[in-house]
Amino acid sequence: MNHWPTLVYGLFAMGALGVYCLLPRAERSMRAAGAVLGAAALAGFLVLFARYAVSPQGSGVVFLVSGAIAIAAAVKVITHERPVYSALYFVLVVLAITPLLILQSAEFAAAALVIIYAGAILVTYVFVIMLAQQSGAAHYDRQSREPFIAVLAGFLTTAVVAAGIMELPVPAGGDPTAMGGEGPSNTEVIGRVLMADYSAALEIAGVLLLIAMIGAVVISRKRVPTEDVVESRTPGMIGREVPPY
């Protein structure tokens, strides 16, 4: 048990080194080495947690597999050179996290994540990137700016969080069978908490979103000075004036 912290921190360092090598850069590429290191670190974690795979109804396996997919995809998000793929790997991260949420009986959060994040927000991301980058990747996509500092900061934070988690007792884990069970469901509880306990916060958030929406409409509805244009064309009474419709 004493070796645990060293092992975990070592794996974190290995993963950090791997991600550092994987980050796109202008000079000589170290991607192969990075991929090997990263994969090794991930495999190390899987081995460490392998004993949790033995659990009723295979929820441990689901946890390990989807967790590994989520981490690998997250690394891909920041290391891929093409922004479209980065955004798509982000979608994969979201999809890989949903089983984890469901394992924790947070099925409403899982569904909301898929519908709102993957189904709406990321579609727009992907879309904007596709529109914006029709011809090849820009130089700021091919080359990361501060790979060392970024990796250090990211993995230090993660390691600190992990250290905190390691202090905690191993939780009993969610009960996946709760989905079909009786009693107030997760969704119901969320609804009660949101609507009864935190209704003011909810209202404020809603009003904020409304303001943002109205603001977006105001910004987008820039009135084209139509008068001059139309006047110069009046002889023919061109069928339609300039938008906005």
Partner: protein, 399 residues
């Protein structure tokens, strides 16, 4: 064997296999019926050469999809090009698992209910379907972008905007029923519509039904909302560059989405597997035979909706893009919002399932819509008030 089926897990597995097989067949025959119905409506006979009445046509079609040359054009983004049809088909094929096919079942006949005839009954069944609908956009977006074709990209652009816009009224229409029923579980929604003087939700909320129906047309990219594949403008849209089995997967995916969508609307508004005044279709009927009967009733209702989809497709022309957007944002969204607010109030005063209040509210709302559109004189589609009126063929301005 029977004792294995008493366990929900194995029962679900068996049911999933059966329904998956049925779905595949149904999807193949959807293509056949699409061709047949379009032919009938155009005074033609349709495919009738392969097998009796042409019934083996789907096999021939499938063989053709398999055997044609699978072209991957140069300069496409190959991984995404391959991924897009897989997403379209895969998402179409996993939607059915939350549909309640046959109520509760007593497998061994000992009087105790063993399993529920549904592959999975999560507490978020409706949200699951909505999530799948949301992810389905990726197939179109990736397909349109990856094949490096401007027309296909236009299609992807249109489709994204369309699907994102129509998901909102769709969600609100569903929310009306969720508020009324108090559950996101599809089986619970079915049960709330029958027995004890209850009626199908379509009687309670015809407006929500219409909104959901319309948005389903848009979500499945069917006419009159098939701007993403507009042949005349975009050559076929996002699947322009696809051939052979990849095109086939897009095709099958569309029909699978139609089936799931029809199932959703049947469950939400038309009582699922329930038919009034027919014995053996009550929730208390739990024998295997009752389950089969319920499943066939649900299947028939879905088939009726598939016919509606096809009927509409071969009747209506396509919307223009601004009309499409206006219909969603200025037409259905306000109505759906008003409906949700009204239903919320009904829930608050405890009259959410009182037909006088729900149906009456719908009627009043409809009248208000009529009055507003009459007073404002601004149609949702067609010419807007601020567009100068010029009479057709008669406006040669005098000099």
């Amino acid at each position: 064997m029977m004792s294995l089926l008493e366990d929900q897990f194995w029962f679900s597995a068996a049911l999933a296999l059966v329904i998956f097989g049925a779905m595949m067949t149904a999807v193949a025959y959807c293509i056949y019926f699409e061709r047949k119905i379009s032919a009938w409506m155009q005074d033609r006979k349709g495919p009738n050469r392969v097998g009796p009445l042409g019934l083996l046509q789907p096999l021939a079609d499938g063989g053709k999809f398999l055997l044609k040359e699978d072209i991957i054009p140069a300069n496409v983004d190959k991984p995404l090009f391959v991924l897009a049809p897989a997403i379209a088909f895969g998402l179409g094929m996993i939607g059915f698992v939350v549909l309640p096919w046959g109520g509760r079942v007593d497998v061994d006949g000992d009087g105790a209910v063993d399993v529920i005839a549904q592959v999975a009954d999560p507490g978020i069944g409706l949200l699951y379907l909505l999530g799948i609908g949301g992810l389905a956009v990726y197939a179109v977006v990736l397909g349109g972008w990856a094949n490096n074709n401007k027309y296909a990209f236009f299609a992807a652009m249109r489709s994204t905007a369309q699907m994102l816009s129509y998901e909102i009224p769709m969600g609100l229409a569903i929310l009306v029923i969720v508020l009324m029923t108090g559950s996101l579980r599809l089986e619970a929604i079915v049960l709330s519509q029958l027995g004890g003087g209850n009626v199908w939700n379509i009687v309670h909320h015809p407006l929500a039904f219409l909104i959901l129906l319309t948005t389903l047309f848009a979500e499945t990219n069917r006419t009159p909302f098939d701007l993403a594949e507009a042949e005349q403008e975009l050559i076929g849209g996002y699947h322009t560059e696809y051939s052979a089995l990849k095109f086939g997967l897009f095709f099958l995916g569309e029909y699978a989405h139609m089936i799931t969508g029809s199932g959703l609307i049947v469950v939400m508004f038309l009582g699922g597997w329930h038919l009034p005044w027919v014995p053996g279709l009550r929730p208390e009927d739990v024998s295997i035979g009752a389950m089969v009967l319920k499943m066939s009733v649900l299947g028939l209702k879905i088939a009726a909706f598939l016919f509606l989809f096809m009927w509409v497709r071969w009747t209506l022309p396509r919307f223009r893009f601004d009309q499409l957007m206006r219909l969603s944002w200025k037409g259905m969204l306000p109505v759906a919002l008003a409906l949700v607010c009204y239903t919320t109030w009904l829930v608050y005063v405890g009259r959410a399932t009182d037909i006088r209040w729900t149906l009456g509210g719908n009627a009043v709302l409809m009248a208000v819509v009529l009055v507003i559109s009459g007073v404002l004189g601004s149609p949702i589609t067609g010419r807007q008030a601020h567009m100068p009126a010029v009479r057709m063929f008669a406006s040669r301005p005098a000099r």
